[in-house]
Amino acid sequence: MEQQRGVFSSRVGLAFLTPALFFVVVFLLFPFVWIFYLSFTNQTLTGASALSPSFVGLENYARLFDFDRWARAGEFGSALWITIQFVLGSALLGQAVVGLTIAWAFYRRKGLLREIVFTLAVLAWIIPDVVVAFAWSAFLDYEQGTLNAILGALGLGRPDWLFRYPLISIILFNTWRGSAFSILLFSSALETIPPSYVETADVVGASAWQKFRDILFPLLRGHILTDLILITLWTFNVFTPYLLTGGGPTFKTEVVSIYIYRTAFKFFEFGKGGAIAVVVMLINLTLAMGYLAMLRRQKASA
């Protein structure tokens, strides 16, 4: 077959690409290089080092990985550990499991209940951050919150959610917030499985668990990996919990994105903030590479 050729010459093509490339360079590539550079300086917003920052080598990185203090509240190690719990809890156990469960529960079913559940899930996903955060503040509020009003009426006690269970609160919040993506992805993946596969299993007598383990899971494995790549990375970088807890109390919900924000834009330590951002980016890159390698292996074996 003759190789397909574009409508335009490569020169014209390049001309069309230029505006987009320009913005990519200005808003993505340049800031990235700039942050990488900043992370090796003691640049701040105010004070002497704001005017004449000096090159400090790996000092910013050394401070992050100062193992005497990094696990203390408000330090990098602590933020990283909170983030890991947050990702495991709200992305893997939360969104992926909830998404798969709901998608499977409504597999090849139509009806009002499905419409309601899907619409609510998508609404939770597309409503702006600030609105959602406000709604959850109102929901979880100690004195006036809806949740405590319900629990109190049932005689189940009225815990101060954001104070006593801050991490669990933001994990639940983020699960609620982001499950729609996994529900939609898994639902459409399930639609691609011919009904006769499941019906054959029904007729031979497979239990619900056997059907899931032997048929649906193997056929969905690629989709599950794709889902995990995306929601892990999104959850790792998500900033919305800040609107709910501000990272507190006492840094208990300070995930790395909030830690970067506090360092760079509250303490104005751009150098150190840049160093954290670079480390976080490397972690994300490693995660993504790991998942992609698994996906490639999965494709090769399929």
């Binding site: 596969y197 019906e199 054959t200 029904d202 007729v203 031979v204 007598g205 239990s207 056929l219 399929a302």
Partner: protein, 362 residues
């Protein structure tokens, strides 16, 4: 193996009645074909037996056990789907052995039973292949093997041959019939292909709009179609159906297409119901029960040759009768020369008359 009984089974989907008061018994070891056009309810009937659908009313028995509301897994039937439903991520050993695995059969016994069945179905050396690595015909056998391996009470086939090309389909048909005889299985077999139903089945159930139109042996439904639907559905080419009306005064049937009078002759004695002048009837005659000639006769109607189609051992002639095409099948390799204007002589002993409601009178 067990007998399958449906008693007055009805299933609706919204406003559509897919299966309408169907009663049917499939005897032990019998293969019954459910035949009809798409949307006639044959597949729904099969799925009702399998338990993939639950009827709105009526009862279903497998053996002497009522299964009407039982889930599929408690019915002990095996089903072969049109798309074979082989799992792409499993090799044939795991695919065929899956019903055994689900039942907790030990690994070693499972291997032996799968190997034994696969050998019998001539796919014994393909067991380590995935479905995508074997041909359509082999996939079809593998899906049959999966049904055979778990020794169910009954087999349910949902158009198992329609994804095969014509040549493979004939092979697979012979193979399935042989298998059914050697295994002596009770089977329900859904198809829209009347030739397949004729070739395979002990009895055929012809369905239309969710209702059973006729039940009988293949020869019975071929020789004695009870209504115009069955007459038009069975046979290739199907029976010629000529609208006509009765002219009592002349003692003839007038063919609507060209107003040709046809002497009732033999038919007169066979009419057992009261008919009156002008009743609109339908004359049914199979292509092989018409002869072509140059001379008129009392049981002959005139027509004009449209085309002749030599098919090897036989010749199909299409004759224009008024605005209608009539098929005539002549069992000769070479057709004698015929004038353009011919007379079609009907074999009145093998001609049917259907009433205004499409039900058979003669």
């Amino acid at each position: 193996m067990a007998q399958i009984t449906l008693e007055n089974v009805t299933k609706t989907f919204g406003a559509v009645t897919a299966v309408d008061r169907v009663s049917l018994t499939i005897a032990e070891g019998e293969l019954v074909a459910l035949l009809g056009p798409s949307g006639c309810g044959k597949t729904t009937t099969l799925r009702l037996i399998a338990g993939l659908e639950i009827p709105d009313s009526g009862r279903i028995f497998i053996g002497d056990r009522e299964v009407t509301r039982l889930p599929p897994r408690e019915r002990d039937v095996a089903m072969v789907f049109q798309d074979y439903a082989l799992y792409p991520h499993m090799n044939l050993m795991d695919n065929i052995g899956y019903p055994l695995k689900v039942r907790g059969v030990p690994r070693e016994e499972l291997r032996q039973r799968v190997q034994e069945v696969a050998r019998r179905l001539q796919i014994g050396d393909l067991l380590d292949r995935r479905p995508s690595q074997i041909s359509g015909g082999q996939q079809q056998r593998a899906s049959v093997a999966r049904a055979v391996v778990h020794e169910a009470q009954a087999f349910l086939f949902d158009e198992p041959l329609s994804n095969l090309d014509a040549k493979l389909r004939l092979e697979a048909r012979a193979f399935l019939k042989h298998l059914q005889h050697t295994e002596g299985v009770t089977a329900a077999y859904v198809t829209h292909d009347q030739a397949e139903a004729m070739a395979l089945a002990d009895r055929i159930v012809v369905m239309n709009h969710g209702k059973i139109m006729q039940i009988g042996t293949p020869l019975d439904v071929y020789r004695n179609p009870q209504n115009t639907f069955v007459a038009a559905f069975i046979g290739n080419p199907p029976m010629n159906l000529l609208p006509c009306h009765l002219d009592m005064a002349q003692g003839v049937l007038v063919v609507a297409a060209n107003q040709a009078p046809l002497d009732l002759g033999l038919l007169r004695e066979r009419i057992r119901v009261a008919l009156k002048d002008g009743d609109s009837l339908t004359l049914g005659v199979r292509p092989e029960n018409i002869t072509l000639g140059a001379e008129p006769g009392p049981a002959a109607i005139p027509g004009k040759i449209y085309v002749t189609q030599p098919l090897g051992g036989e010749t199909l002639v299409n004759v224009e009768v008024g605005d209608q095409l009539v098929s005539v099948r002549i069992f000769t390799e070479e057709l004698p020369p015929l004038p353009e204007q011919v007379w079609l002589t009907l074999d009145l002993a093998r001609t049917f008359l259907y009433g205004p409601d499409g039900e058979r009178i003669v």
